[in-house]
């Protein structure tokens, strides 16, 4: 009988532990990493242009290849745009317009539902058509799959946000659209509170929140604490918005000594999170942060029961759709000013790239189609994104309040340091932009319970970051 008891216990415990071990065991063998393909970093413009001399710049819409006959296949993630009932402009609408200019080029669009993972398989398989959206592969591998479109200098004079789809100064992809990060607010609430000018600094923002609390019944800042992942949104501003420096997030942060200390000039990560701490400490957030309701908050901001929420631009359309007052939803840049100038972290969506093994005709037809999508289709505008072509300044309503603000797209990590940020993130357990919701939630807790000052929290982060830097032997450069 004793033995049986023991057996039960043993089995029970092993079942419990086995659950965790299973997680660890299954993934342990995945230690192989794709070796960088060792291409020379800088290639000549000729090599960049490919064998045919075809570049993005060389195509002139309406002149180049108007009598070309070709059928190209496009692999795309927007399956919703293939549906007849798509509320915006569907693929069919785009292609009809495209055929007015290029009747000879047939475009066959294949939508993939789980694009992020399936596209990688298709890429390895090789038989994926002529155009695809660049999936998550190392930028050093671009040359193995995609047609060079020109030098960075040449292409970036025509197209915004090319930094992520280039390698060694050669561009391999053109972004389909791009987004910037800001703060959601309710225009009517701001009006009622008597706020005429959008806040530009953290201090102004707190002042405005106080006005909202005084003059309206709305919750000035809704934290969305309980959902957890919504708090991780605060990490999105510490790069471009807080510094105006394209290299900060992926290149400098890892090498910065005590990056969360107060720089004293109102910039940096310190002043991003301070806005959150101060709002909570001054009672400018919801009454009970532990029971905030993510689904409910959409209707609340739409009805004017919430003043502001700190979330990415993707949330804008959801808030508009959640009630009868879509016109009240506004989007503004994060209230932080760097040397008298405001910046907004921005980044490209998926980028179009061309198969380097396609026939010359198909390559030309593909380049024409991509250029047309970028310059003539209005795709980015229709999808509420930042315009991609540099001479296109037609911003959607979403960015109406971003006038005069510079968009900052993060540069990719330096060669050989691609893994550094994820190493530091994991070892410090701060996990910026990768699920580190707990640390932002802790700011709310400490501010509400008044058991830790903001400077102490930041010192703690600095200590963790420094430990992680030492553990990984990172050189301090900044």
């Amino acid at each position: 009988m004793k033995r049986r008891k023991l057996l039960t216990l043993g089995l029970t415990s092993i079942m419990l532990i086995g659950a965790l071990a299973g997680c660890g065991g299954g993934n342990a063998s995945g230690g192989t990493e794709a070796a960088p393909s060792g291409e020379p970093a800088a290639e000549s413009t000729e090599a960049a242009a490919g064998s045919t001399g075809l570049t993005y710049a060389s195509v002139v819409l309406g002149e180049t290849g108007t009598d070309l006959k070709a059928t190209i296949k496009v692999l795309n993630h927007r399956t919703d745009m293939l549906q007849d009932n798509y509320p915006g402009t569907s693929w069919k609408d785009y292609l009809d317009t495209f055929h007015e200019m290029y009747p000879g080029i047939e475009v066959d669009i294949e939508g993939i539902t789980d694009y992020a993972s399936d596209s990688l398989l298709r890429l390895q398989g090789g038989d994926w058509g002529d155009i695809m959206m660049i999936p998550a592969i190392d930028s050093s591998q671009y040359a193995d799959y995609f047609l060079p479109m020109g030098t960075l200098e040449e292409v970036s004079s025509l197209v915004r946000f090319t930094a992520n789809s280039q390698y060694g100064g050669i561009v391999y992809g053109i972004p389909s659209t791009a987004n910037a990060q800001g703060v959601l607010y309710n225009k009517k609430v701001f009006e009622t509170a008597g706020i005429t000018e959008l806040p530009k600094t953290g201090e102004e923002f707190i002042k405005d929140l106080k006005l909202i609390k005084e003059k309206t019944d709305a919750i000035p800042l809704y934290t969305n604490y309980a959902a957890g992942w919504t708090m991780g949104a605060w990490d999105a501003y510490i790069g471009g918005s807080a510094t105006g420096d394209t290299a900060y997030m992926n290149q400098k942060l890892a090498h910065t000594a005590n990056p969360f200390a107060d720089p004293g000039n109102g910039t940096g990560a310190y002043n991003i999170y301070k806005v959150l701490y101060d709002s909570v400490a001054e009672g400018l957030t919801e009454d009970d942060y532990t029971t905030t309701d993510w689904e409910g908050c959409k209707g609340m901001i739409n009805r004017g029961e919430i003043g502001t929420m700190v979330l990415g631009s993707w949330a804008y359309s959801q808030m508009q759709a959640a009630g009868d007052h879509p016109e009240d939803i506004g989007y503004m840049s994060f209230p932080i000013t760097v040397n008298g100038k405001q910046y907004a972290s921005a980044g490209p969506d998926y980028a179009f790239a061309i198969n380097k093994d396609s026939s010359d005709d198909n390559k030309l037809a593909s380049m024409i189609f991509i250029k047309w999508m970028t310059e003539k289709s209005g795709f980015s505008y229709n999808e509420a994104g930042i315009p991609i072509a540099t001479d296109d300044n037609k911003y959607p309503d979403l960015y109406a309040a971003f006038e005069g603000i510079d968009y900052v797209a993060d540069d990719v990590a330096l060669e050989g340091e691609e893994d550094l940020m994820s190493l530091l993130n994991a070892d410090s357990e701060l996990n910026f932009n990768s699920g580190g919701d707990k640390k932002v939630q802790a700011i709310v807790e400490h501010a509400a319970n008044k058991d830790m000052s903001f400077d102490d929290i930041m010192n703690d982060w600095n200590a963790k970051w420094t430990d992680a830097q030492e553990l990984n032997g990172v050189k301090i450069l900044y």
Partner: protein, 325 residues
């Protein structure tokens, strides 16, 4: 001679059948339980992620388990759940005893109490999230019976009581299953014993103390063991209701965070090994304690009746352990 030869052949065949039948489950058990378990012990000595290089660090992970304030805090947190589990077993015993005597609408009440156990743990989390929201279900009910909202605490925000709130959901959920286990054991007590007791003029308390409790003591022990080891591994209520924030992160929630968000697989494995050891120690202490308490009964001969109950209890416990996870 002939007979013994036939006997041998039969034995051989029996052995073949036994081997043939056990080899498959045994293989699966080793492959999916013991092998990963041994691997996990190995991982606990490394500094590693799911992918990428590994570095042998000796006992550093174990040192961290004992020195990191957030991990030590979770051990204190499990005291809340242990207190909760004692309350849970006591309540279950109380209700089971009541149902053992004649009650009106017995099955309906049993159904009500057992029902929470049938609901999915995630759903329970969401139910209680709204239950505890300021001005929602609980506050409304309390206001209806005369409390003022001003004087009511914030059930999940106030760090002095939010863990009790979470413990309550766990008690609410598992009490019914404990009760059914007790009830099953009580049902198998010989009815003539009750009759004899009532003829002798025993009251309800005496019936419970001298007839019911001794007959079901094994299953009471088991329930307590399972509840206490279960309280060390409490996961669903804090994970779903508060996502482990605001000082409610239990051992499993922290382990999950370390293993998956921060990908410190070595440290998480060390935590798992540590938990196993703690559970073993808890088990041995309980064993010794109960041996002391029931030392008189152990001396007496175990009737076939009690043995059967034990079998039942073991089966039920295994089921409960599966469900409890």
């Amino acid at each position: 001679m002939e007979i013994s030869k036939g006997w041998n052949v039969r034995k051989k065949r029996q052995l073949q059948v036994i081997v043939a039948f056990t080899i498959v489950p045994l293989f699966l058990l080793i492959l999916f339980t013991y092998y990963p378990f041994l691997e996990m012990i190995r991982y606990s000595f490394y500094n590693m992620k799911y992918i990428g290089p590994r570095k042998f660090v000796g006992f550093r992970n174990y040192v961290q388990v004992f020195t990191r304030p957030d991990i030590i805090r979770t051990l204190l947190l499990s005291l809340y759940y242990m207190v909760g589990s004692v309350v849970q077993v006591a309540l279950a015993l109380y209700f089971a005893t009541i149902f053992c005597f004649k009650v009106k609408g017995e099955n309906l009440w049993k159904g009500f109490i057992f029902f929470p156990y049938l609901i999915n743990g995630i759903a329970i989390g969401f139910i209680f999230k709204f239950f505890y929201t300021r001005g929602f279900v609980l506050d409304t009910v309390l206001q209806a019976i005369g409390f003022d909202l001003e004087n009511l605490p914030y059930w999940l925000k106030d760090q002095n009581i939010n863990n009790w709130s979470l413990v309550f959901t766990s008690v609410w959920r598992y009490m019914g299953s404990n009760m059914v286990l007790f009830l099953g054991a009580m049902m198998s007590v010989d009815n003539t014993l009750y009759e004899a007791a009532s003829l002798d003029g025993a009251n309800k308390w005496q019936t419970f103390r001298y007839i019911i409790l001794p007959s079901i003591k094994t299953i009471v022990t088991l329930n307590i063991i399972l509840s206490i080891t279960g309280s060390l591994s409490a996961f669903e209520p804090p994970y779903v209701i508060t996502s482990g924030a605001n000082g409610t992160a239990t051992f499993f929630v922290v382990m999950n965070d370390i293993a998956h968000t921060s990908q410190k697989v070595g440290l998480a494995s060390a935590m798992a090994v540590f938990l196993l050891i703690v559970i073993f120690i808890a088990k041995f202490i309980q064993d010794a304690l109960f041996k002391y308490i029931f030392r008189n009964a152990e001396a007496g001969d175990e009737s076939a009746d009690v043995a059967r109950q034990k079998k039942k209890a073991l089966k039920a416990a295994k089921r409960a352990a599966k469900g409890g996870k």
